[in-house]
């Protein structure tokens, strides 16, 4: 019994962390049609913010609150300086953002001296129900992820800003003709995606410790999740993330972890082959 509960909790917790990471990548990919390969490093910057706050004596929750804003600002500057030049050519965008990511990663490595540092979670320890222990901080992440998911959906589907974003995606020329500054909308969307990455980094740093490479293992799987969900739909990216994250956590219970890691990719590639439009293509919006 206790291991069944542990199983479901751990799969849910890991999927939540993963969804949080994918959200930002998914927003940028689905709204602007480019893959941000510096996304892992934006996550890293969020984590580093929390670490830097702790270094100057501020509590970690303050760093977690500030992380999305600081990373959004960095994202905004990068978008204005470099990334906006890549919109016309998605392949160049991948390479360009990858290069930016590399520069950010090595920069943080220099700041950290290549070391790994732990950050204390605002909630330490675990809830114990008899034999079952449930990490307090992972529980918090599950709740925050749910809230952020609903918030994002609301922002993109129900607000004026969301309408402009979707309009700019569907038909940039018509959007411009209707008086929407697509360039500004793109900048804001990119900053928003960056903020989500910063939040993800800030929230997960107590679990993973800050180190220059902390974003790397997430990037490829997040990329896979967005592919799986379909480029054009925000809900699809979340579904893809839940599937990739869930299977990454669940498969090692049954088979060797090294095999499981590969199997996640094989399953995902098979699904992409069967449903090239993405998981939710039949009932989502079609491109």
């Amino acid at each position: 019994m206790s291991s069944v509960v542990a199983f479901f909790f751990d799969v849910l917790a890991y999927s939540s962390i993963f969804v949080l990471v994918v959200l930002g990548l998914g927003v940028i990919a689905s709204m602007m049609g480019i893959f941000n390969f510096a996304h892992g490093e934006f996550v890293l910057l969020g984590a580093y913010t929390v670490y830097a706050f702790e270094q100057v004596g501020l509590p970690s929750w303050a760093g977690m609150t500030a992380a999305p804003f600081i990373v959004a600002l960095i994202g905004l500057v990068l978008e204005r300086v470099a990334i906006q030049r890549f919109y016309a050519t998605p392949v160049i965008a991948m390479l360009g953002t990858y290069a930016i990511g590399l520069a950010l990663r090595e920069g943080v490595r220099t700041l950290l001296g290549g070391q790994f540092y732990s950050v204390t979670a605002p909630l330490v320890g675990s809830f114990a129900f008899g034999d079952i222990t449930v990490s307090k901080w992972r529980t918090t992440i599950i709740i925050i992820t749910a809230l952020v998911m609903v918030g994002c959906w609301f922002l993109l589907a129900r607000t004026r800003f969301g309408l402009r974003v979707r309009a700019s995606l569907e038909n940039p020329a018509l959007a411009r003709a209707s008086g929407i500054s697509t360039s500004r909308v793109y900048a804001a969307t990119f900053a928003f995606g960056s903020a989500l990455a910063g939040l993800a980094g800030g929230l997960m740093v107590p679990i993973y410790s800050v180190s220059a490479d902390m974003g790397v293992p997430f990037l490829i799987k997040a990329f896979l999740a967005v592919m799986l969900g379909g480029m054009g739909s925000f809900e699809g990216a979340i579904a893809g993330a839940a599937l990739v994250g869930g299977s990454s956590a669940a498969l090692p219970w049954a088979i060797k972890p090294v095999v499981a890691d590969v199997l996640v990719f094989i399953i995902a590639i098979a699904i992409v082959k069967l449903r090239p439009g993405g998981l939710l293509s039949s009932w989502g919006k079609r491109q």
């Binding site: 290069a99 290549g114 070391q115 790994f116």
Partner: protein, 412 residues
């Protein structure tokens, strides 16, 4: 019509600018990828003789940078010390440092440059076993150059002209595993990163565990950067394991230790052990999560030995505290390597590989951090003292010392 032409024009200009931007960006990335990371440290003062060239190939960047940075620091410190004391054979030492960037493919090019272009007289470096395996042939066989490998590793490296100055499995396990059985229990679990070091070390550890009356409940391998261990932790918690003998490495190890702690392994009396854990690793997880973690290495700051303390003070003065001088990150191995090589060059009165290797075969240094050390003749490996330490509130306490230097038990 005119307007369209203008837009067309503007587009051409924009596309021109974009092309230019991309060209520059790609040139820059190319420079970063290939050009950087080569440094020459010239001896201070005026010297009449040509310098002896010491090649240091280590990971200043990339995931292994945490060990490569202090490694290059130690080399710099020792080489400057030797120069200040009059050099070797009347010649100064020049340090040629290459950043192998935690990337085996790039590293081969870097060491080829060291042996072919710079024509160094000896190469020290490499941290991971995969790095050593990648660069050794270029240095030793094709480059005909002496190679000294400083990190603790899985053993079985018996290439001629390749000397190992870090601890071997025998040195790390022979006293440590009986201690763990006495101070933990008989049931072991071996969670490991999936690369050569854990695989081969576990083979040795398993043998030693069984020989001492213990039992291996499980042995499991994860991708190096794995970040979800709940399945394994559930197996550990439900099978009454006493000792977790961990060989997962950073970054994955941080998550593993945290999940293990949160599941209450230590609270229920379990003992966590990890043979590469040193002062450098204490930051990876909060102190309370690795309370009572046991490790076995050739030096700890907590030893408080006069020689080690002097060395620490000097190192800290030069390089600060961000990348400390420790055993698990190959700093002590780098120190031993340079000192043994120095002794050998003095005895051989030459820097020719054959002469130095012959003298190196029985080289001996009376004092070092954690005690004296020497090459065991015919073995290419180093005999050294070993210590068992336990983490207490973010520091180590040395709980047991080996009975004199421990034999590496490698290569015949």
């Amino acid at each position: 019509m005119g307007e369209t032409a203008m837009t067309q024009d503007k587009r051409n200009v924009e596309s021109e600018q974009r092309r230019l931007f991309l060209q520059r960006a790609s040139v820059l990335t190319g420079m970063i990828a290939l050009g950087g990371g080569s440094y020459i440290l010239n001896p201070k003062g005026a010297w009449a003789a040509d310098p002896i060239k010491v090649g240091i190939a280590t990971d200043l960047t990339g995931p292994i940078g945490y060990a490569g940075i202090p490694n290059s620091n130690v080399a710099k410190m020792v080489i400057e010390e030797i120069n200040a004391a009059g050099g070797l054979l009347g010649r100064p030492l020049q340090m040629v440092l290459e950043d192998t960037a935690s990337n085996e493919a790039a590293a081969v090019t870097k060491v080829r440059k060291l042996v072919q272009k710079d024509k160094v007289d000896v190469v020290l470096g490499g941290i991971t076993s995969s790095m050593r395996n990648a660069i050794k042939d270029t240095i030793v066989n094709r480059g005909k150059t002496l190679y000294i490998y400083p990190q603790l590793y899985e053993g079985k490296e018996c290439t001629p002209y390749l000397f190992c100055t870090g601890p071997t499995p025998a040195q790390q396990c022979d006293t440590f595993i009986p201690w763990l059985i006495k101070n933990g229990g008989k049931k072991f679990y071996l969670p490991s990163a999936d690369y050569v070091w854990p695989h081969v070390l576990n083979e040795y550890a398993r043998k030693t565990i069984v020989k001492n009356g213990g039992e291996v409940i499980g042995e499991e391998y994860f991708p190096v950067d794995h970040n979800e261990y709940s399945a394994t932790i559930n197996k550990i918690m439900s099978s009454g394991v006493n000792v977790v003998f961990n060989t997962t490495i950073p970054p994955g190890v941080a998550v593993f230790f945290k999940q293990l702690y949160e599941a209450g392994f230590q609270k229920k009396g379990g003992r966590l052990a990890c043979v590469y854990y040193d002062e450098n690793c204490l930051n990876i997880t909060p102190a309370n999560e690795i309370e009572d973690l046991a490790t076995c290495l050739d030096y700890f700051k907590a030893l408080n030995d006069p020689f080690g303390n002097t060395l620490q003070a000097k190192y800290t003065k030069l390089f600060g505290t961000k990348n400390p001088f420790t055993a698990g990150s190959a700093s002590t191995g780098m120190y031993r390597g340079l000192m043994l090589w120095q002794v050998a060059v003095k005895e051989a009165k030459s820097v020719k590989r054959e002469d130095v290797a012959k003298a190196m075969d029985h080289a001996k240094v009376a004092e070092g951090p954690g005690g004296g050390f020497e090459i065991v003749p015919g073995s290419l490996h180093t005999k050294m003292n070993m210590y068992i330490a336990v983490a207490k509130a973010g520091k180590y306490e040395v709980v047991e010392k080996s009975n004199g230097p421990v034999m590496p038990a490698e290569c015949g």
